[in-house]
């Protein structure tokens, strides 16, 4: 295969691919913002909420971790609007699914980080006479976030990769654009490899940041 020709061919489709990438990043970013918020709230509820609330959020987490994202997408695209009897809009359904999925997986990361703050740190707060209004925002929360960052970043990579599934419900993300061009031009090798490479470069960079952070920042603090 001629590399120059392949690159030239890809260059012709740069616009379509970048539109796809833009959509992928757009869906992922919205899913991240809403998902992380849901995840944090859920983890706090599971740690210290009302028993009934605990059952509800635990069920939510189990359902979203225990079913394929693909079926979640199908369900929110085809079933929820019919049950509610309202049109939800494709973007809304996409972002809703990704957010709920991200909320479920990130709540586990937050929960593990909350648990990892030892009883000794809480003892120290009592011994220093710190009331909850001080210990929570100045001691517990910062340590939770610092500890959770590596797993949360991995969750972000997972969400970014899972977002490729929205192509299956016809959302024009990077995967969808790649497949469309591949089908239209009958040159799947170049396009699909380029698509894979774009995903790889982004996901790989984030995983490098994770290990950099773990080795540098966390090691320095011995968290």
């Amino acid at each position: 295969m001629d590399i120059t020709a392949a690159l030239g061919f890809l260059w012709d489709y740069r616009l379509a691919l970048s539109v796809g990438l833009g959509n992928t990043l757009h869906f992922t970013a919205l899913g991240l913002v809403f998902g992380l918020t849901i995840g944090f709230v859920v983890s706090v509820v599971r740690q210290a909420g009302h028993p009934v609330l605990k059952v509800i959020v635990t069920t939510y987490v189990e359902i979203f971790r225990g079913t394929p994202v693909l079926i979640q997408l199908f369900w929110f695209f085809f079933c929820l609007p019919a049950i509610l009897g309202v049109e939800l809009g494709n973007v809304f359904s996409t972002v809703l699914t990704l957010s709920l999925y991200m909320g479920a997986i990130s709540s586990e990361s937050f929960r593990a980080a909350l648990k990892a703050i030892g009883a000794e740190q809480r003892d120290a707060c009592v011994a220093l006479g710190l009331p909850a209004r001080v210990s929570v925002p100045y001691v517990i929360l910062p340590q939770t976030v610092l500890r959770a960052v590596p797993t949360l970043l991995s969750n972000c990579v997972t969400l970014f990769k899972e977002s490729a599934l929205v192509s299956a419900v016809g959302m024009a993300d990077l995967m969808y654009q790649g497949q469309m061009i591949a089908d239209a031009t009958a040159r799947p090798i170049e396009i699909l490899t380029a698509t894979a490479l774009i995903y790889f470069v982004i996901a790989f960079s984030v995983t490098r940041i994770v290990s950099f952070y773990e080795r540098g920042y966390l090691a320095r603090m011995r968290l």
């Binding site: 000794e120 003892d123 120290a124 011994a127 100045y138 340590q143 320095r220 603090m221």
Partner: protein, 258 residues
């Protein structure tokens, strides 16, 4: 009502209702006393300190400081004691594993409680903290994170953090047990300095030589009870109880120390 400085009355503590670690402890100490608690592992020494600090839910009993009850078993609650927080805040405690906040600098660790819990201004608490750190020879470490310090430095910072709150009494729970031998002296030296300043202290330690040096009173506890309570000169040379003698023989490999 007793007029003792610290008064522990009928203290009982069990884990899960069966495992009794402290059984009807009655104990008084006067201001300026330095009480060292010794005894075999699992005898409830650390738990006693933790109860005085209010870190454990107690089954029965009450604890008073300067004649004011600040902890009392609450039979209606399975989770919490009755606690008078302003009085409890006059008690300071240092732990075996430093328990510094790893995400804050040394200075940040010191000024967190004065600033956020007691409403002292940043400038005033920083000034006091820097004075204290300078006294301890740690002023160059003010901006360092705890993870960058040696064990001895961490423990001295932990002591400084407690001292900055002007406690009436300090509790030391095996504060040198996690330290390398060569770092023990710097922490013990600081504690001896506090002793000279007549700080009231309760100390749990395995180091009998240090106990003898710092104590005004030594308590031997075993099986959740106080077996013997005597001045160090008597405890280490001529203990009254055979169990005490037995224990000291085991840990010291000699009959007595002088």
């Amino acid at each position: 009502m007793s007029s003792s400085f610290l008064n522990v009355q009928g203290l009982r503590k069990s884990f899960g209702g069966h495992l009794v670690v402290l059984d009807d402890i009655n104990f008084q100490m006067e201001a300026g006393e330095r009480v060292v608690v010794i005894g075999p592992s699992g005898s409830g020494k650390s738990t006693l300190l933790r109860c005085v600090m209010g870190l454990e839910k107690i089954d029965h009993g009450r604890i008073e400081l300067e004649g004011v009850r600040y902890i009392e078993a609450d039979p209606k609650s399975t989770k919490d004691n009755f606690v008078n927080i302003p009085v409890r805040n006059k008690v300071g405690m240092v732990f075996q594993h430093y328990t510094l906040f790893p995400h804050l600098t040394v200075l940040g660790n010191l000024i967190l409680a004065p600033m956020r819990a007691r409403g002292e201004s940043r400038s005033s608490s920083t000034e006091r903290a820097m004075q204290l750190l300078t006294r301890l020879g740690l002023e160059s470490k003010a901006g360092a994170f705890p993870g960058m310090l040696s064990g001895g430095q961490k423990q001295r910072v932990a002591i400084a953090r407690a001292l900055l709150l002007d406690p009436k009494i300090m509790l030391f729970d095996e504060v040198t047990s996690a330290l390398d031998p060569e770092l023990v002296t710097e922490v013990e030296g600081l504690m001896l300095e506090l002793a000279e300043q007549k700080m009231s202290m309760m100390i749990v330690t395995h180091d009998m030589w240090f106990a003898k040096r710092i104590a005004t009173r030594v308590i031997f506890s075993a099986d959740g009870r106080i077996i013997e309570d005597a001045p160090p000169s008597k405890m280490f040379t001529n203990p009254a109880e055979p169990r005490t003698a037995d224990f000291l023989k085991k840990v010291l490999h000699v009959e007595t120390i002088s």
